[in-house]
């Protein structure tokens, strides 16, 4: 037995040798490639204790005392580490975190999905290239210079720095080509609102100020304004010459207005009263002087510090006398063509004006105002002499204007004065008989040419001279009229038996046709006759019977559940007792009132038309809460019979439009994120981040086609 056992053991050992459990290999030498199969698992069962490690630390001198102390503390502490969470719990936490992450990722799609759902029309593929004009760079980008000619041209172009790359469209234009996004619109709207509000505030303020009645306040205001303006103007001349020019123009305009009006001219009631007082009252004189000063200030020409050319031009303009623009006075009443004699008499006029100037200088400075007035009055009187009384007022104002202007204009008026005198003299002379016979002839001819027949008297005068042909012409229609009255115009025959029928009719028509309609009250007799005639068939009672029958048919019948013979005697001709009738006859609710309830002579059928019902909508569709809403939403017909072409097209446009043959790619995050960020404006960093991320992701596209929920057509 023992032997056998030994044999067995040795055999087992041999077996163990042949098939060792673990191949115990030793690393003999360092090699570049360390096979994982050669890693030793020696001493796997043994635990490494902290004390084992500490032993070496204690011995090493390099370790600091602090760490040693800490390690010792650790060794002494008996607390164990907490167990890691079990699998379910960790998974739950992980799931929670993952959920949060994905919701954050997916929720950015929420808006665009909603937007697409709401969109009236979706056009696929999304982000199609706009059909508008492209930038030059876009077109040129893929094109390379190849031929020597092209190369040469390019060299030239670059040499001269031509704007080769200038875009056809500015970025602003391009942006406007694309639709304005929501955010942009909002920003813009806010800006506009602000501007509007500011404007309204300003307007309100201006109104308030305008309402103030205090003259003094306004005077102060105006003065301040003027001062401010002058300051600004001086600055403006330096900085903004164009603006200054414009301002200058405005000033010029105000000057013109001042010259036109009678303001500050001391011609009003007030001024006249003051003029009387001026001799005795200092303050009155001062006030008048102020007024005149104002006028002078306003009418003074602005001296523009500009080129010599301008000045010369202006001087040239000034030299032109004012009367050039005035309406010409007709010198020769007979001949309107005789004009422009003035040029010959110029020298005389000039001397007269010189005298006038001298007189003006002679006057004392004290009585300046009064003198001025008197002079003006003189001028006016002189002018008035040769004016027609009807045009007096208009002319006066004109002349007054002229008076108040500078000396030049004064000269002009005087000039005219003289001229009129001259012409008068000239005409007198001609009348005097100095002119020759030839001239007379000429005048006669001219006057003959001028004669126009204006009245019957004129005609009579002309009778002998004018040929009889002219008289014949008006007489011709008279004769025609006479003919017309004597003979009615011949009528065209359009009918087969016209004359016969018409003549008979014409007589017959007028009598019977006139009072064909008679009021009911007037014809009581006739009505009574008719009543008699229709006495047999009583139409009304028949109709009432019919109606009552219909009403009865419409009423729900009473359900009778009485059982005869129960609890009483039965038999023929017995009525159920009252209590039974009360208890077992069930009345149903009355139907809604008939449509013809208030129309005694109408029966309207209460039957429901079931034929239409099969075509009607029987259940309210989703968003609507009551029938009125739904009915109003479908009240507008869509068809072309009821609408204009554009409206029909608009109303029936498809929900989804796809381009034939184009591949519809699933929506990419960038499509809408980009538009968002650009809309926000000035968020360059965000764009960069997005792009970076995109670059990292590379070709990995998040396919969320299912999420977009394409609306099915």
């Amino acid at each position: 037995m023992q032997n056998e056992n030994l044999v067995q053991i040795s055999f087992f050992n041999q077996l163990m040798l042949v098939h060792p459990r673990k191949k115990q290999n030793e690393r003999s030498e360092a090699s570049v490639q360390v096979s994982e199969y050669f890693v030793n698992a020696e001493g796997t069962g043994d635990k490494v204790n902290l004390s084992d490690l500490l032993g070496t630390v204690e011995k090493t001198s390099g370790a600091s005392n602090k760490t040693k102390k800490q390690l010792r503390n650790l060794q002494s502490s008996k607390e164990t580490l907490e167990l890691p969470l079990n699998k379910q719990q960790t998974e739950k936490i992980q799931r929670g975190i993952a959920y949060e992450k994905t919701t954050a990722e997916v929720s950015c799609w929420k808006n665009i999905i909603l937007q697409n759902q709401k969109a009236e029309q979706m056009v696929f593929p999304l982000n199609q290239e706009s059909s508008g004009p492209k930038r030059v760079e876009q077109v040129v980008a893929g094109w390379k210079v190849q031929t020597p000619l092209e190369q040469e041209i390019f060299r030239l172009l670059h040499g001269s720095r031509q704007p080769v790359n200038d875009p056809v469209l500015t970025p602003v234009e391009e942006q406007s080509l694309k639709a304005m996004s929501l955010e942009e619109a909002k920003i813009r709207r806010a800006e506009l609102q602000k501007a509007r509000a500011l404007q309204s505030y300003y307007e309100a303020k201006a109104k308030r100020e305008k309402k103030i009645k205090s003259k003094k306040y306004h005077k102060v205001q105006n003065k301040a304004k003027r001062k401010d303006f002058l300051k600004q103007f001086d600055e403006m001349v330096k900085t903004n010459p164009e603006g200054a020019l414009e301002e200058l123009k405005k000033m010029e305009l105000s000057r013109m207005e001042e010259r036109m009006s009678l303001k500050h001219q001391n011609s009003g009631k007030w001024a006249k009263s003051k003029a009387i007082m001026a001799k005795y009252d200092d303050s009155a004189r001062k006030a008048m002087q102020e007024q005149l000063q104002m006028n002078k200030d306003l009418t003074q020409k602005m001296v523009v510090p500009s080129d010599d050319e301008h000045e010369s031009i202006e001087e040239g303009l000034e030299t032109v006398p004012d009367f050039v623009n005035d309406p010409e006075t007709v010198i020769d009443p007979v001949n309107p063509w005789m004009r422009g004699q003035l040029t010959h008499e110029e020298p005389e006029v000039s001397c007269v004006t010189a005298e006038e100037v001298q007189t003006a200088e002679e006057e004392n400075e004290e009585e300046e105002i009064i003198g001025e007035f008197e002079r003006k009055r003189k001028l006016r009187q002189a002018d008035e002499e040769d004016l027609i009384p009807t045009e007096e007022e208009r002319k006066k104002t004109q002349e007054e204007d002229e008076d108040e202007e500078e000396d030049v204009s004064e000269f002009n008026t005087l000039f005219r004065l003289m001229r009129s005198e001259k012409t008068r003299e000239g005409s007198n002379q001609t009348r005097g008989g100095l002119n020759t016979a030839g001239e007379e002839d000429e005048e006669g001819l001219l006057s003959e040419g001028q004669i126009r027949v204006r009245s019957i008297e004129d005609l009579e005068v002309l009778d002998e001279v004018v040929e009889p042909r002219a008289i014949e012409e008006p007489s011709a229609p008279q004769t025609a009229a006479a003919e017309a009255t004597s003979e009615p115009p011949h009528k065209k025959k359009r009918e087969i038996n016209l004359k016969e029928v018409l003549t008979k009719e014409a007589k017959a028509v007028r009598l019977p046709f006139l009072p064909t309609v008679v009021d009911e009250e007037e014809r009581d007799e006739q009505i009574s006759i008719i009543k008699e005639a229709f006495a047999g068939d009583d139409v009304i009672s028949d109709f009432i019977k019919d109606k009552s029958r219909q009403e009865a048919a419409g009423r729900p019948a009473v359900v009778d559940l009485t059982l005869p013979g129960w609890g009483e005697w039965g038999g023929v001709g017995l009525k159920p007792p009252r209590w039974k009738r009360k208890r077992f006859r069930i009345k149903t609710a009355p139907p809604p009132p008939r449509q013809d309830q208030k129309l005694p002579d109408v029966i309207i059928s209460e039957k429901r038309t079931a034929s239409v019902a099969s075509h009607q909508v029987s259940q309210l569709p989703f968003p609507f809460q009551n029938t009125a809403q739904f009915e109003s939403s479908i009240r507008t017909p869509i068809g072309s019979t009821w609408n204009t072409q554009t409206v029909v097209k608009n109303m029936t446009k498809p929900k989804v439009v796809t381009k034939l043959g184009a591949i519809i790619e699933p929506m990419v995050k960038e499509d809408f994120i980009k538009s968002k960020t650009t809309a926000a404006g000035g968020k360059g960093a965000a764009i960069m981040l997005g792009e970076n991320r995109r670059a990292k992701e590379g070709t990995k596209r998040t396919k969320i086609l299912a999420l977009t929920e394409l609306p099915t057509a």
Partner: protein, 558 residues
């Protein structure tokens, strides 16, 4: 005398008054007009802004207000639909500019009644083409004539009592066909085009083509006295001497409905162009309204003490004019079924006809009178025009889009000029008097495609756009009526046959009794449960009440 009228209409636009008052415009036309406007009228914009707030004329129904606590989706839906309808209305209003033609009129001199102006005078005063529209056809041989104008107003169909039938292009006086059917002719009517017409002869209804070839003899329609054609439904409605109102669908040649009115001989008939309801006048003074969908009359109204002689309904379906043997002429508002005013005509009116613009013509004896402003609240005072004829008047009809009244009488036919009768602007897509052969063909196809089904005829043409609010039970009942059986009915319990004597009559009966009244039992069980619950609640409440006399501090107790 001042006569104005007779347009040379080239622009094609009008209000189409069927179903809804709306505007239609031709695309090509608008294009043209817009171009024109931009050249000629620089401040067209100013004119157009006038229409920016659409007038009441173009309003279609009421606006819907968004309720206060509405869902977002509902708000959006309402807003979109409102915006769309407003846009449509505005556009329609803008296109009103394209209706340039004015209606004609006749004005007398001072102290001159327009009714004394004779037709010859008018024909002289107007231009030659218009003047030629007054003419007489002397056809004294074949008795009083009935007549009908085609819908475009180009063709005239006359039918003499004694069998003479002729169709004429009345403007060119081009006779298209003429024949004698050798039978009494009661009525003639054009069908949807000028290519076909129906003649109600002594016994049957016949259909001929424009060359006089007999196409059909419809023997289902016998003793027809009057006919009306419903153009949008392609229905020919006939009223017979036997009291039957029948509808023939001419597009498929089928009889749609045959209604026995039980009202005797039907010789007064008119149609309401607004809702395609047929009006019949009866000898007992009533007027009844009919649709093919109902075997009884929709409405019956007592209009006259004597028999009703004639009827006419205006284009918008608002007014009905009747005349009776009591010599009264009455105007009704048929939306409310109320009489507006009545007047007494000494001679009584045998025939009535309303023009497109609301002129009423009445045949009183041998005189035709035309009344103006009848449709409205103000009563009639005197005729606008009058014309005497020879012989009894048998038929009156206004020519569409022309100022012409056709009169059929014992001595033939007379075409009378009535300025201001016709609609000056027409809708070329609907009825175009100037259409070519090709256009007619195209129109016919489109009209057939857009044919309105007879089921939709009813008093309210807008019924289709309303929600059917009938209860489920009612609808179920109607379904049972229509199908003849109840589609939702449960099958009766049928016990299985079992072997070994277990299917004896008694056993079967027992088994049946087990499941008998199962539904009822369920109901009872449920009601009992509810009742017990309710009682419980009541008990609890009463308990609480009993304990109600507590101190005020008890409320803080938990």
């Amino acid at each position: 005398m001042l006569v104005f009228g007779f347009w040379t209409t080239k622009i094609c636009n009008t209000r189409n008054c069927f179903n809804k008052i709306v505007l239609i415009a031709l695309f090509s036309l608008t294009f043209h007009c817009n171009g024109f406007a931009s050249i000629v009228c620089p401040d067209l914009k100013k004119i157009l802004t006038k229409f920016d707030s659409p007038s009441r004329w173009f309003m279609l129904g009421k606006k819907c207000k968004v309720p206060a606590g509405a869902r977002e989706r509902l708000k959006e839906a309402i807003a979109i639909s409102e915006a769309m309808s407003e846009h449509a209305q505005k556009q329609a209003a803008r296109y009103d500019l394209l209706l340039p033609e004015d209606a004609g009129f006749l004005e007398g001199d001072e102290d001159e009644d327009t009714n004394t102006i004779s037709q010859a005078d008018i024909a002289d005063a107007v231009d030659i083409t218009s003047g030629s529209k007054y003419f007489n056809l002397h056809l004294s041989q074949f008795g009083p004539y009935r007549l009908d104008y085609s819908r475009t107003g180009r063709n005239l169909l006359v039918g003499g009592k004694k069998g003479h039938v002729a169709c004429i292009d009345w403007q060119t006086k081009d006779l298209k066909c003429e024949m004698n059917v050798m039978e009494t002719v009661n009525d003639v009517k054009w069908l949807h085009t000028e290519a076909m017409f129906a003649v109600a002869q002594k016994r049957w209804l016949y259909i001929y083509d424009s060359k006089g070839v007999e196409l059909h003899c419809v023997k289902k329609f016998n003793d027809v006295l009057r006919m009306q054609f419903l153009p949008y439904h392609f229905l020919l409605a006939t009223a017979s001497a036997t009291g039957f109102l029948q509808y023939l669908d001419v597009s498929i040649g089928k009889e749609v409905a045959a209604i026995c009115t039980k009202m005797g001989r039907l010789d007064v008939m008119a149609q309401n162009p607004h809702n395609a309801v047929i009006h019949l006048g009866h000898p007992n003074g009533t007027v009844s309204l009919w649709s093919p969908n109902q075997k009884e009359s929709l409405v019956k109204m007592l209009c006259h003490r004597g028999a009703v002689r004639s009827l006419a309904v205006d284009k918008t379906g608002t007014y009905m004019v009747t005349s009776g043997l009591d010599r009264k002429l009455k105007v009704y508002d048929i939306r409310a079924f109320k009489p507006l005013h009545s007047c007494f005509l000494p001679a009584g009116a045998s025939c009535l006809s309303l023009s497109q613009r609301g002129l009423l013509s009445a045949a009183t004896g041998e005189i035709v009178q035309v009344y103006q402003n009848v449709l409205g609240s103000n009563p009639v005072s005197k005729p606008y025009m009058a014309h005497r004829l020879r012989g009894q008047i048998w038929g009156l009809a206004y020519c569409p889009f022309e100022d012409v009244l056709g009169i059929g009488h014992g001595e033939g036919f007379t075409s009378m000029i009535v300025p201001g009768a016709g609609e000056p602007n027409f809708d070329a897509l609907d009825t175009n008097p100037y259409r070519s052969h090709k256009q007619r063909q195209e129109w016919e196809v489109k009209a057939l495609l857009e044919k309105v089904q007879p089921e939709l005829i009813g008093l309210d043409p807008g019924q289709l756009s309303k929600v059917d609010q009938a209860s489920f039970e009612q609808r179920h009942k109607e379904q049972i009526e229509a199908l003849g059986f109840d589609p939702l009915a449960k099958d009766k319990f049928k016990p299985r046959t079992k072997k070994k004597g277990r299917s004896s009559a008694g056993a079967i009966e027992k088994r049946k009794r087990k499941v008998a009244h199962e539904d009822q039992r369920d109901e009872i069980r449920q009601s009992v449960q509810e009742r017990t619950e309710r009682e419980k609640e009541l008990k609890e409440k009463s308990n609480e009440k009993k304990l109600g006399n507590k101190s005020t501090l008890d409320r803080f107790r938990k």
